[in-house]
């Protein structure tokens, strides 16, 4: 199955890596992400690995919400952008936290 995660975003990739490699309390997990992790038998450390090493695509509008997609080794982590006060044209160097919305296998 082909996946379309949007365009590769090197600046946002750098920002996500910077945050994921910094203090862990800057990475938030939503209740939905918890549920999907349990349902799909994925644990936080795997998600963390994806955030640290993955490529970020987007952000793009999904069901009226601005989301970016982090992809690494068969794992797809969707992170919230709009809820953190950013938009598609933001300066990603100012991003200081990550909010994980959901996690999926590819």
């Amino acid at each position: 199955m082909a996946h379309n995660f949007g365009d590769f975003n090197p600046a946002l990739t750098a920002a996500v890596k910077r945050i994921a490699n910094g203090d862990s309390d800057a990475v938030f997990f939503s209740p939905h992400a918890f549920d999907r992790e349990e349902e799909r038998d994925i644990d936080h450390s795997t998600v963390w690995s994806c955030l640290r090493r993955g490529k970020v695509y987007g952000p793009e509008w999904i069901d009226g919400e601005l989301r970016a997609n982090v992809v690494h080794l068969g794992l797809h982590v969707r992170v919230a952008i709009g809820e953190l006060g950013f938009d598609a044209q933001s300066d990603w160097s100012e991003l200081s936290s990550i909010l994980v919305c959901t996690v999926m296998g590819i």
């Binding site: 203090d23 862990s24 309390d25 938030f28 349990e38 936080h44 998600v47 963390w48 909010l99």
Partner: protein
């Protein structure tokens, strides 16, 4: 107190050391020093004495970054056997649980290997752990579950002043343990 289900275990709870953010009517959570938290959980599992559950085995295996095949090779089992343990189809053999505990301690906490080995041969019955509870104490993730005889016992042993007697008797709560001076010396050699 919140449940820390994200580690793959359903009986880990945090008293503090987390932050919350409102998100879509619910709460999103982040954790302080998650690496330290994973180490504290691993140490608790490694020093416990009950037969490991499949999820607990998987937690330690993941921390060691072993594949199921690598774990199976170490334990002289097939990767399918390991997969069945982790899915809960078959119970983890007690001895295999001890081996992966030792492997974890060897990698992350060599100073506690003697504690673990003493616990293996301890007199107390191995009780299952209903809940692992952790708290940030002086900036370090610490287990606040004191329901482990092996830890109580060793903390008592460490308080003993070695007087050179051939035999030492150590009182620990309601039980009495005896160790000889030579073993005490070996213990001090290995403790950090």
């Amino acid at each position: 107190m919140i449940q820390f289900a994200g580690c793959g275990l359903d009986n880990v709870y945090l008293k503090d050391g987390f932050k919350t953010m409102e998100f879509k009517g619910g709460k999103a959570y982040s954790y302080v020093d998650i690496k330290g938290l994973y180490l504290a959980i691993g140490r608790s599992l490694a020093l416990s004495r009950h037969p490991l559950s499949g999820r607990e085995f998987r937690f330690l295996r993941n921390a060691l970054q072993w594949s199921q095949t690598e774990a199976g090779a170490t334990l002289d089992k097939t990767c399918q056997a390991v997969a069945k343990w982790e899915k809960g189809v078959n119970p983890v053999a007690r001895a295999d649980g001890h081996v992966i505990r030792l492997a974890w301690l060897r990698r992350f906490d060599q100073g506690s290997i003697v504690r673990m080995v003493n616990g293996m041969f301890g007199d107390h019955p191995a009780r299952s752990v209903d809940a692992y509870i952790f708290s940030r104490i002086e900036g370090v993730w610490t287990s606040v579950d004191h329901d482990w005889p092996v830890l109580d016992r060793l903390s008592a042993v460490q308080r003993v002043d070695v007087s050179g007697d051939a035999q030492l008797t150590v009182d620990s709560d309601d039980s009495v343990y005896e160790i000889d001076a030579q073993n005490e010396y070996a213990l001090e050699e290995l403790m950090p």
